[in-house]
Protein backbone atom coordinates (compact mmCIF):
# COMPACT_ATOMS: atom_id res chain seq x y z
CA UNK A 1 0.00 0.00 0.00
CA UNK A 2 1.49 3.30 -1.02
CA UNK A 3 1.48 6.23 1.36
CA UNK A 4 -1.01 9.03 1.62
CA UNK A 5 -0.59 11.30 -1.38
CA UNK A 6 1.26 14.29 -0.05
CA UNK A 7 2.45 15.58 -3.41
CA UNK A 8 -0.90 16.79 -4.70
CA UNK A 9 -0.33 19.82 -6.92
CA UNK A 10 -0.13 22.93 -4.79
CA UNK A 11 -3.19 25.01 -5.47
CA UNK A 12 -4.90 27.97 -3.98
CA UNK A 13 -8.05 27.10 -2.09
CA UNK A 14 -10.30 28.36 -4.90
CA UNK A 15 -8.43 26.37 -7.54
CA UNK A 16 -8.60 23.25 -5.37
CA UNK A 17 -12.34 23.78 -4.93
CA UNK A 18 -12.99 24.16 -8.66
CA UNK A 19 -10.70 21.22 -9.47
CA UNK A 20 -12.56 18.89 -7.11
CA UNK A 21 -15.55 16.91 -8.42
CA UNK A 22 -17.68 18.47 -5.67
CA UNK A 23 -16.72 21.98 -6.82
CA UNK A 24 -17.49 21.02 -10.41
CA UNK A 25 -20.89 19.72 -9.35
CA UNK A 26 -21.55 23.06 -7.64
CA UNK A 27 -20.80 24.75 -10.98
CA UNK A 28 -23.21 22.32 -12.69
CA UNK A 29 -25.89 22.99 -10.08
CA UNK A 30 -25.65 26.78 -10.11
CA UNK A 31 -25.49 27.12 -13.91
CA UNK A 32 -28.18 24.45 -14.25
CA UNK A 33 -30.43 26.35 -11.88
CA UNK A 34 -30.00 29.54 -13.93
CA UNK A 35 -30.78 27.70 -17.17
CA UNK A 36 -33.78 26.00 -15.52
CA UNK A 37 -35.21 29.37 -14.45
CA UNK A 38 -34.65 30.69 -17.97
CA UNK A 39 -36.48 27.71 -19.48
CA UNK A 40 -39.51 28.46 -17.26
CA UNK A 41 -39.51 32.18 -18.10
CA UNK A 42 -39.02 31.41 -21.81
CA UNK A 43 -41.97 29.01 -21.77
CA UNK A 44 -44.24 31.48 -19.97
CA UNK A 45 -43.34 34.17 -22.52
CA UNK A 46 -43.91 31.89 -25.48
CA UNK A 47 -47.29 30.68 -24.25
CA UNK A 48 -48.57 34.16 -25.09
CA UNK A 49 -48.91 32.80 -28.63
CA UNK A 50 -52.30 31.50 -27.46
CA UNK A 51 -53.32 35.10 -26.74
CA UNK A 52 -52.96 36.05 -30.38
CA UNK A 53 -50.55 37.60 -32.87
CA UNK A 54 -50.52 41.09 -31.38
CA UNK A 55 -49.86 39.94 -27.82
CA UNK A 56 -46.90 37.71 -28.81
CA UNK A 57 -45.36 40.32 -31.13
CA UNK A 58 -45.76 42.98 -28.43
CA UNK A 59 -43.92 40.69 -26.02
CA UNK A 60 -41.11 40.22 -28.56
CA UNK A 61 -41.00 43.98 -29.02
CA UNK A 62 -40.77 44.46 -25.25
CA UNK A 63 -37.77 42.10 -25.04
CA UNK A 64 -35.98 43.92 -27.84
CA UNK A 65 -36.93 47.35 -26.54
CA UNK A 66 -33.95 47.53 -24.20
CA UNK A 67 -30.87 46.13 -25.99
CA UNK A 68 -28.72 46.56 -22.89
CA UNK A 69 -30.93 44.32 -20.74
CA UNK A 70 -31.42 41.88 -23.63
CA UNK A 71 -27.69 41.42 -24.21
CA UNK A 72 -26.93 41.25 -20.50
CA UNK A 73 -29.39 38.37 -20.23
CA UNK A 74 -28.10 36.72 -23.41
CA UNK A 75 -24.44 36.93 -22.36
CA UNK A 76 -25.29 35.72 -18.86
CA UNK A 77 -27.14 32.71 -20.28
CA UNK A 78 -24.32 32.03 -22.74
CA UNK A 79 -21.78 32.02 -19.90
CA UNK A 80 -24.00 29.66 -17.87
CA UNK A 81 -24.45 27.34 -20.84
CA UNK A 82 -20.72 27.34 -21.63
CA UNK A 83 -19.76 26.62 -18.00
CA UNK A 84 -22.41 23.89 -17.83
CA UNK A 85 -21.13 22.22 -21.02
CA UNK A 86 -17.40 22.60 -20.31
CA UNK A 87 -17.81 21.27 -16.76
CA UNK A 88 -19.92 18.38 -18.07
CA UNK A 89 -17.13 17.49 -20.50
CA UNK A 90 -14.59 17.57 -17.65
CA UNK A 91 -16.80 15.33 -15.51
CA UNK A 92 -17.38 12.93 -18.42
CA UNK A 93 -13.61 12.72 -18.98
CA UNK A 94 -13.10 11.97 -15.30
CA UNK A 95 -15.80 9.30 -15.52
CA UNK A 96 -14.05 7.45 -18.33
CA UNK A 97 -10.69 7.70 -16.52
CA UNK A 98 -12.24 6.44 -13.28
CA UNK A 99 -13.53 3.26 -14.93
CA UNK A 100 -11.20 2.42 -17.82
CA UNK A 101 -12.37 -1.22 -18.00
CA UNK A 102 -16.13 -1.53 -18.41
CA UNK A 103 -18.23 -4.28 -16.89
CA UNK A 104 -19.17 -7.12 -19.22
CA UNK A 105 -22.52 -7.27 -17.47
CA UNK A 106 -23.79 -4.24 -15.55
CA UNK A 107 -27.16 -4.10 -13.85
CA UNK A 108 -28.87 -0.96 -12.63
CA UNK A 109 -30.07 -1.01 -9.06
CA UNK A 110 -32.04 1.90 -7.69
CA UNK A 111 -31.29 4.41 -10.44
CA UNK A 112 -33.65 6.20 -12.81
CA UNK A 113 -33.34 6.10 -16.61
CA UNK A 114 -33.13 9.90 -16.61
CA UNK A 115 -30.21 9.95 -14.15
CA UNK A 116 -28.18 7.43 -16.13
CA UNK A 117 -28.66 9.20 -19.45
CA UNK A 118 -27.74 12.79 -18.52
CA UNK A 119 -24.66 12.53 -20.76
CA UNK A 120 -26.91 11.62 -23.69
CA UNK A 121 -29.90 13.90 -23.12
CA UNK A 122 -27.56 16.85 -22.47
CA UNK A 123 -25.68 16.88 -25.80
CA UNK A 124 -28.91 16.25 -27.75
CA UNK A 125 -30.58 19.21 -26.01
CA UNK A 126 -27.48 21.31 -26.80
CA UNK A 127 -27.69 20.33 -30.49
CA UNK A 128 -31.37 21.24 -30.43
CA UNK A 129 -30.57 24.57 -28.77
CA UNK A 130 -28.18 25.51 -31.57
CA UNK A 131 -30.78 24.58 -34.19
CA UNK A 132 -33.45 26.47 -32.23
CA UNK A 133 -31.33 29.64 -32.23
CA UNK A 134 -30.65 29.33 -35.97
CA UNK A 135 -34.36 28.66 -36.53
CA UNK A 136 -36.13 31.34 -34.49
CA UNK A 137 -33.47 33.85 -33.35
CA UNK A 138 -31.13 34.23 -36.33
CA UNK A 139 -33.59 32.82 -38.85
CA UNK A 140 -30.92 31.22 -41.02
CA UNK A 141 -32.53 27.79 -40.61
CA UNK A 142 -36.01 29.20 -41.24
CA UNK A 143 -37.29 29.12 -44.84
CA UNK A 144 -39.56 32.17 -44.43
CA UNK A 145 -38.11 34.33 -41.67
CA UNK A 146 -39.70 37.77 -41.18
CA UNK A 147 -39.73 40.48 -38.56
CA UNK A 148 -42.92 38.92 -37.22
CA UNK A 149 -42.44 36.42 -34.40
CA UNK A 150 -45.98 35.04 -34.62
CA UNK A 151 -45.59 34.34 -38.33
CA UNK A 152 -42.15 32.76 -37.81
CA UNK A 153 -43.46 30.40 -35.12
CA UNK A 154 -46.59 29.33 -36.97
CA UNK A 155 -44.96 28.88 -40.39
CA UNK A 156 -41.98 27.16 -38.72
CA UNK A 157 -44.13 24.62 -36.90
CA UNK A 158 -46.40 23.95 -39.88
CA UNK A 159 -43.55 21.81 -41.21
CA UNK A 160 -44.19 18.41 -39.62
CA UNK A 161 -40.55 17.20 -39.28
CA UNK A 162 -39.59 20.49 -37.56
CA UNK A 163 -42.43 20.16 -35.07
CA UNK A 164 -41.57 16.53 -34.38
CA UNK A 165 -37.92 17.51 -33.76
CA UNK A 166 -39.07 20.15 -31.27
CA UNK A 167 -41.38 17.74 -29.47
CA UNK A 168 -38.69 15.04 -29.21
CA UNK A 169 -36.18 17.64 -27.96
CA UNK A 170 -38.64 18.80 -25.29
CA UNK A 171 -39.17 15.23 -24.06
CA UNK A 172 -35.37 14.85 -23.76
CA UNK A 173 -35.13 18.20 -22.00
CA UNK A 174 -37.80 16.87 -19.64
CA UNK A 175 -35.71 13.78 -18.91
CA UNK A 176 -32.66 15.97 -18.28
CA UNK A 177 -34.56 18.29 -15.94
CA UNK A 178 -36.35 15.49 -14.14
CA UNK A 179 -33.00 14.37 -12.73
CA UNK A 180 -31.20 17.71 -12.88
CA UNK A 181 -33.70 19.83 -10.95
CA UNK A 182 -33.58 17.52 -7.93
CA UNK A 183 -29.88 16.76 -8.38
CA UNK A 184 -28.84 20.41 -8.10
CA UNK A 185 -30.17 20.56 -4.56
CA UNK A 186 -28.27 17.40 -3.58
CA UNK A 187 -25.05 18.78 -5.15
CA UNK A 188 -25.40 21.95 -3.10
CA UNK A 189 -25.89 19.90 0.05
CA UNK A 190 -29.64 20.32 0.43
CA UNK A 191 -31.01 16.91 1.42
CA UNK A 192 -33.21 16.00 4.32
CA UNK A 193 -35.80 13.27 4.86
CA UNK A 194 -38.42 16.00 5.23
CA UNK A 195 -37.47 17.97 2.11
CA UNK A 196 -35.98 15.48 -0.35
CA UNK A 197 -39.26 13.75 -1.33
CA UNK A 198 -40.85 17.19 -1.86
CA UNK A 199 -37.88 18.32 -3.98
CA UNK A 200 -38.20 15.22 -6.14
CA UNK A 201 -41.91 15.89 -6.59
CA UNK A 202 -41.12 19.51 -7.44
CA UNK A 203 -38.64 18.34 -10.10
CA UNK A 204 -41.24 16.00 -11.56
CA UNK A 205 -43.98 18.63 -11.56
CA UNK A 206 -41.75 21.37 -13.00
CA UNK A 207 -40.62 19.00 -15.72
CA UNK A 208 -44.20 18.01 -16.59
CA UNK A 209 -45.25 21.67 -16.82
CA UNK A 210 -42.25 22.61 -18.98
CA UNK A 211 -42.68 19.68 -21.38
CA UNK A 212 -46.46 20.13 -21.63
CA UNK A 213 -46.20 23.91 -22.03
CA UNK A 214 -43.51 23.81 -24.69
CA UNK A 215 -44.95 20.87 -26.60
CA UNK A 216 -48.37 22.53 -26.69
CA UNK A 217 -47.09 25.18 -29.13
CA UNK A 218 -45.90 22.99 -32.06
CA UNK A 219 -48.77 20.59 -31.35
CA UNK A 220 -51.37 23.35 -31.56
CA UNK A 221 -49.88 24.58 -34.82
CA UNK A 222 -49.86 21.04 -36.26
CA UNK A 223 -53.49 20.53 -35.21
CA UNK A 224 -54.44 23.84 -36.77
CA UNK A 225 -55.53 25.38 -33.47
CA UNK A 226 -53.02 28.19 -33.94
CA UNK A 227 -52.62 29.56 -37.45
Amino acid sequence: MSAVTTSLPVRSEDEAFLASPIGKKVVMAVTGAALFLFVIAHMLGNLQIFMGRDKLNAYAELLHHNPGALWTARIGLLICALLHVVTAIQLATLRSKARPVAYIKKGNAGSSYASRTMLMSGPIVLAFLIYHLLHFTFGSAHPDFRNDVYHNVVSGFQRVPVSIAYIVAMVLLGLHLNHGVWSMFQSLGVAHPRYTPALKKFAMAATAVIVAGNVSIPLSVLLGLVK
Binding site: M1, S2, A3, V4, T5, L8, E13, D14, A16, F17, A19, S20, P21, I22, G23, K24, K25, V26, L91, L94, R95, K97, A98, R99, P100, V101, A102, Y103, I104, K105, K106, G107, N108, A109, G110, S111, S112, S115, R116, M118, H179, W182, S183, F185, Q186, S187, L188, G189, V190, A191, H192, P193, T196
Partner: protein
Protein backbone atom coordinates in the same frame (compact mmCIF):
# COMPACT_ATOMS: atom_id res chain seq x y z
CA UNK B 1 -32.53 -28.62 -2.49
CA UNK B 2 -29.72 -29.20 -4.95
CA UNK B 3 -29.30 -26.77 -7.82
CA UNK B 4 -27.22 -26.76 -10.98
CA UNK B 5 -25.69 -23.42 -11.91
CA UNK B 6 -23.46 -22.05 -14.62
CA UNK B 7 -20.90 -19.51 -13.41
CA UNK B 8 -19.05 -17.16 -15.74
CA UNK B 9 -16.12 -16.09 -13.57
CA UNK B 10 -13.59 -13.37 -14.34
CA UNK B 11 -10.19 -15.06 -14.31
CA UNK B 12 -7.12 -12.87 -14.29
CA UNK B 13 -3.79 -14.36 -13.21
CA UNK B 14 -2.24 -11.12 -11.98
CA UNK B 15 -2.59 -7.34 -12.00
CA UNK B 16 -0.67 -7.06 -15.25
CA UNK B 17 -2.20 -10.09 -17.01
CA UNK B 18 -5.26 -9.73 -19.21
CA UNK B 19 -8.36 -11.46 -17.94
CA UNK B 20 -11.34 -13.27 -19.40
CA UNK B 21 -14.58 -14.92 -18.35
CA UNK B 22 -14.38 -18.69 -17.81
CA UNK B 23 -17.55 -20.81 -17.53
CA UNK B 24 -17.93 -23.42 -14.80
CA UNK B 25 -20.78 -25.83 -14.06
CA UNK B 26 -21.46 -26.23 -10.37
CA UNK B 27 -23.82 -28.26 -8.17
CA UNK B 28 -24.83 -26.16 -5.17
CA UNK B 29 -27.08 -26.53 -2.18
CA UNK B 30 -29.65 -23.85 -1.31
CA UNK B 31 -28.30 -23.60 2.25
CA UNK B 32 -24.81 -22.62 1.10
CA UNK B 33 -23.71 -19.01 1.21
CA UNK B 34 -22.43 -17.67 -2.09
CA UNK B 35 -18.84 -17.94 -0.84
CA UNK B 36 -19.38 -21.52 0.35
CA UNK B 37 -20.58 -22.32 -3.15
CA UNK B 38 -17.31 -20.85 -4.48
CA UNK B 39 -15.40 -22.90 -1.87
CA UNK B 40 -16.98 -26.02 -3.39
CA UNK B 41 -15.99 -24.85 -6.86
CA UNK B 42 -12.44 -24.24 -5.65
CA UNK B 43 -12.27 -27.73 -4.07
CA UNK B 44 -13.17 -29.17 -7.46
CA UNK B 45 -10.70 -26.94 -9.30
CA UNK B 46 -7.92 -27.81 -6.86
CA UNK B 47 -8.76 -31.53 -7.24
CA UNK B 48 -8.38 -31.18 -11.00
CA UNK B 49 -5.05 -29.42 -10.53
CA UNK B 50 -6.43 -26.06 -11.68
CA UNK B 51 -5.89 -22.67 -10.07
CA UNK B 52 -8.74 -21.91 -7.60
CA UNK B 53 -10.78 -18.73 -8.06
CA UNK B 54 -9.30 -15.98 -5.86
CA UNK B 55 -11.81 -13.91 -3.88
CA UNK B 56 -11.48 -11.77 -0.75
CA UNK B 57 -13.25 -12.87 2.42
CA UNK B 58 -12.69 -12.82 6.15
CA UNK B 59 -15.48 -12.78 8.75
CA UNK B 60 -18.20 -14.28 6.53
CA UNK B 61 -20.82 -12.64 8.73
CA UNK B 62 -21.24 -9.40 6.80
CA UNK B 63 -19.34 -7.04 9.05
CA UNK B 64 -15.70 -6.95 7.95
CA UNK B 65 -16.00 -5.54 4.44
CA UNK B 66 -13.51 -7.94 2.88
CA UNK B 67 -15.77 -9.73 0.44
CA UNK B 68 -17.61 -8.43 -2.55
CA UNK B 69 -17.83 -8.77 -6.31
CA UNK B 70 -20.42 -8.21 -9.00
CA UNK B 71 -23.09 -10.90 -9.53
CA UNK B 72 -24.94 -10.30 -12.81
CA UNK B 73 -23.83 -6.67 -12.72
CA UNK B 74 -25.07 -5.92 -9.20
CA UNK B 75 -22.55 -5.35 -6.41
CA UNK B 76 -22.93 -8.07 -3.73
CA UNK B 77 -25.68 -9.71 -5.81
CA UNK B 78 -29.44 -9.35 -5.97
CA UNK B 79 -30.33 -9.24 -2.25
CA UNK B 80 -30.35 -5.67 -0.86
CA UNK B 81 -28.46 -4.82 2.33
CA UNK B 82 -26.19 -7.85 2.17
CA UNK B 83 -22.59 -8.72 1.45
CA UNK B 84 -21.92 -11.76 -0.77
CA UNK B 85 -20.88 -13.85 2.25
CA UNK B 86 -24.38 -13.38 3.70
CA UNK B 87 -26.09 -14.02 0.37
CA UNK B 88 -27.44 -17.56 0.34
CA UNK B 89 -28.04 -19.77 -2.65
CA UNK B 90 -31.77 -20.01 -1.89
CA UNK B 91 -32.04 -16.59 -3.56
CA UNK B 92 -31.12 -18.22 -6.88
CA UNK B 93 -32.95 -20.74 -9.03
CA UNK B 94 -31.89 -24.08 -10.42
CA UNK B 95 -30.39 -23.51 -13.87
CA UNK B 96 -29.38 -19.88 -13.25
CA UNK B 97 -26.45 -18.45 -15.16
CA UNK B 98 -24.37 -16.04 -13.07
CA UNK B 99 -21.68 -13.61 -14.18
CA UNK B 100 -19.05 -12.84 -11.54
CA UNK B 101 -16.80 -9.84 -12.10
CA UNK B 102 -14.46 -7.93 -9.78
CA UNK B 103 -15.18 -4.32 -8.74
CA UNK B 104 -14.09 -2.24 -11.72
CA UNK B 105 -12.51 1.14 -11.05
CA UNK B 106 -9.18 2.77 -11.85
CA UNK B 107 -8.73 3.29 -8.10
CA UNK B 108 -9.32 -0.44 -7.41
CA UNK B 109 -6.82 -2.33 -9.61
CA UNK B 110 -7.46 -6.06 -9.93
CA UNK B 111 -4.95 -8.12 -7.92
CA UNK B 112 -6.20 -11.52 -9.09
CA UNK B 113 -9.51 -12.90 -10.38
CA UNK B 114 -12.18 -11.30 -8.14
CA UNK B 115 -9.73 -9.63 -5.74
CA UNK B 116 -9.10 -5.90 -6.06
CA UNK B 117 -6.74 -3.58 -4.17
CA UNK B 118 -8.85 -1.22 -2.06
CA UNK B 119 -5.82 0.54 -0.58
CA UNK B 120 -7.26 3.80 -1.93
CA UNK B 121 -9.93 3.62 0.81
CA UNK B 122 -7.24 3.20 3.49
CA UNK B 123 -5.42 6.24 2.12
CA UNK B 124 -8.65 8.27 2.21
CA UNK B 125 -9.12 7.41 5.88
CA UNK B 126 -5.46 8.17 6.65
CA UNK B 127 -5.81 11.54 4.96
CA UNK B 128 -8.67 12.37 7.33
CA UNK B 129 -6.17 12.30 10.18
CA UNK B 130 -6.75 12.39 13.90
CA UNK B 131 -9.43 13.74 16.22
CA UNK B 132 -8.41 15.71 19.29
CA UNK B 133 -9.12 13.85 22.50
CA UNK B 134 -8.02 14.50 26.06
CA UNK B 135 -5.51 11.84 27.09
CA UNK B 136 -5.74 10.00 30.37
CA UNK B 137 -8.42 7.71 31.68
CA UNK B 138 -11.64 7.31 29.73
CA UNK B 139 -14.13 10.12 30.46
CA UNK B 140 -17.48 9.32 32.01
CA UNK B 141 -19.97 8.22 29.40
CA UNK B 142 -22.19 11.20 30.22
CA UNK B 143 -19.34 13.74 30.25
CA UNK B 144 -19.92 14.77 26.62
CA UNK B 145 -23.62 15.21 25.83
CA UNK B 146 -24.62 13.89 22.40
CA UNK B 147 -28.18 14.32 21.17
CA UNK B 148 -29.78 10.94 20.52
CA UNK B 149 -30.68 11.83 16.91
CA UNK B 150 -27.08 12.84 16.16
CA UNK B 151 -25.75 9.68 17.76
CA UNK B 152 -28.14 7.59 15.64
CA UNK B 153 -27.19 9.39 12.43
CA UNK B 154 -23.48 9.09 13.24
CA UNK B 155 -24.00 5.39 13.88
CA UNK B 156 -25.79 5.01 10.53
CA UNK B 157 -22.73 6.51 8.81
CA UNK B 158 -20.28 4.55 10.97
CA UNK B 159 -21.83 1.30 9.78
CA UNK B 160 -19.80 1.62 6.57
CA UNK B 161 -17.51 -1.41 6.32
CA UNK B 162 -15.49 -0.06 3.40
CA UNK B 163 -16.32 -2.95 1.06
CA UNK B 164 -16.21 -0.76 -2.06
CA UNK B 165 -19.62 -1.78 -3.46
CA UNK B 166 -20.58 1.91 -3.81
CA UNK B 167 -17.62 2.59 -6.11
CA UNK B 168 -18.28 -0.63 -8.02
CA UNK B 169 -21.97 0.11 -8.59
CA UNK B 170 -21.54 3.81 -9.43
CA UNK B 171 -21.60 4.44 -13.20
CA UNK B 172 -18.97 7.13 -12.50
CA UNK B 173 -16.85 4.95 -10.15
CA UNK B 174 -17.26 7.66 -7.53
CA UNK B 175 -16.27 7.06 -3.90
CA UNK B 176 -18.70 9.71 -2.65
CA UNK B 177 -20.83 7.39 -0.53
CA UNK B 178 -17.80 5.93 1.27
CA UNK B 179 -16.25 9.37 1.68
CA UNK B 180 -19.50 10.84 2.94
CA UNK B 181 -19.93 8.06 5.51
CA UNK B 182 -16.41 8.58 6.83
CA UNK B 183 -16.76 12.38 6.91
CA UNK B 184 -20.22 12.22 8.51
CA UNK B 185 -19.70 9.76 11.32
CA UNK B 186 -17.07 11.99 12.92
CA UNK B 187 -18.64 15.24 11.74
CA UNK B 188 -21.88 14.46 13.56
CA UNK B 189 -20.26 13.96 16.95
CA UNK B 190 -18.80 16.55 19.34
CA UNK B 191 -15.50 14.65 19.40
CA UNK B 192 -15.12 15.22 15.66
CA UNK B 193 -15.74 18.98 15.70
CA UNK B 194 -12.23 20.47 16.18
CA UNK B 195 -10.86 18.99 12.91
CA UNK B 196 -14.20 18.78 11.11
CA UNK B 197 -13.55 21.25 8.27
CA UNK B 198 -9.86 20.38 7.91
CA UNK B 199 -10.76 16.70 7.71
CA UNK B 200 -13.24 17.10 4.87
CA UNK B 201 -10.80 19.26 2.88
CA UNK B 202 -8.00 16.72 3.28
CA UNK B 203 -10.19 13.72 2.48
CA UNK B 204 -11.70 15.33 -0.62
CA UNK B 205 -8.21 16.34 -1.81
CA UNK B 206 -7.02 12.74 -1.34
CA UNK B 207 -10.07 11.37 -3.19
CA UNK B 208 -9.26 13.65 -6.12
CA UNK B 209 -5.76 12.18 -6.26
CA UNK B 210 -7.06 8.59 -6.28
CA UNK B 211 -8.85 8.74 -9.64
CA UNK B 212 -12.38 8.25 -8.33
CA UNK B 213 -15.15 9.70 -10.48
CA UNK B 214 -17.60 12.43 -9.53
CA UNK B 215 -21.00 11.92 -7.96
CA UNK B 216 -23.95 12.56 -10.28
CA UNK B 217 -26.59 11.71 -7.67
CA UNK B 218 -27.69 8.56 -9.49
CA UNK B 219 -28.21 6.55 -6.31
CA UNK B 220 -26.95 3.09 -7.33
CA UNK B 221 -24.46 3.17 -4.43
CA UNK B 222 -27.28 3.52 -1.92
CA UNK B 223 -29.17 0.62 -3.51
CA UNK B 224 -26.27 -1.84 -3.25
CA UNK B 225 -24.74 -0.69 0.06
CA UNK B 226 -24.80 -3.70 2.41
CA UNK B 227 -25.13 -1.27 5.34
CA UNK B 228 -27.87 0.92 3.83
CA UNK B 229 -25.76 4.10 3.91
CA UNK B 230 -27.97 6.80 2.39
CA UNK B 231 -26.97 9.40 -0.21
CA UNK B 232 -28.28 11.99 2.23
CA UNK B 233 -24.76 11.67 3.68
CA UNK B 234 -23.32 12.74 0.30
CA UNK B 235 -25.29 15.99 0.58
CA UNK B 236 -23.80 16.37 4.07
CA UNK B 237 -20.32 15.81 2.58
CA UNK B 238 -21.02 18.46 -0.08
CA UNK B 239 -22.28 20.85 2.59
CA UNK B 240 -19.24 20.37 4.80
CA UNK B 241 -16.86 20.68 1.86
CA UNK B 242 -18.55 23.87 0.64
CA UNK B 243 -18.34 25.36 4.11
CA UNK B 244 -14.73 24.23 4.59
CA UNK B 245 -13.71 25.73 1.23
CA UNK B 246 -15.45 29.06 1.77
CA UNK B 247 -14.18 29.51 5.31
CA UNK B 248 -10.65 28.25 4.75
CA UNK B 249 -7.82 30.48 5.89
CA UNK B 250 -4.12 29.78 6.18
CA UNK B 251 -2.61 29.05 9.56
CA UNK B 252 -0.95 32.19 10.85
CA UNK B 253 -0.50 33.61 14.32
CA UNK B 254 -1.47 37.08 13.13
CA UNK B 255 -4.95 35.86 12.36
CA UNK B 256 -4.42 34.54 8.87
CA UNK B 257 -4.71 36.07 5.45
Amino acid sequence: MEMNLTLHVWRQASASASGKLVAYKIRANEHMSFLEMLDVLNEELTGRGEDPVAFDHDCREGICGSCGFMINGIAHGPLPGTTVCQLHMRHFKNGDELWLEPWRAAAFPVVKDLVVDRGAFDRLISAGGYISVAPGSAPDANAVPVPKKDADLAMDAAQCIGCGACVAACPNASASLFLSAKVSHLGLLPQGQPERLERVRKMVAQANGEMFGSCTNIGECEAVCPKHIRIEFIARLNRDYLKASWLYRKEAASGGE
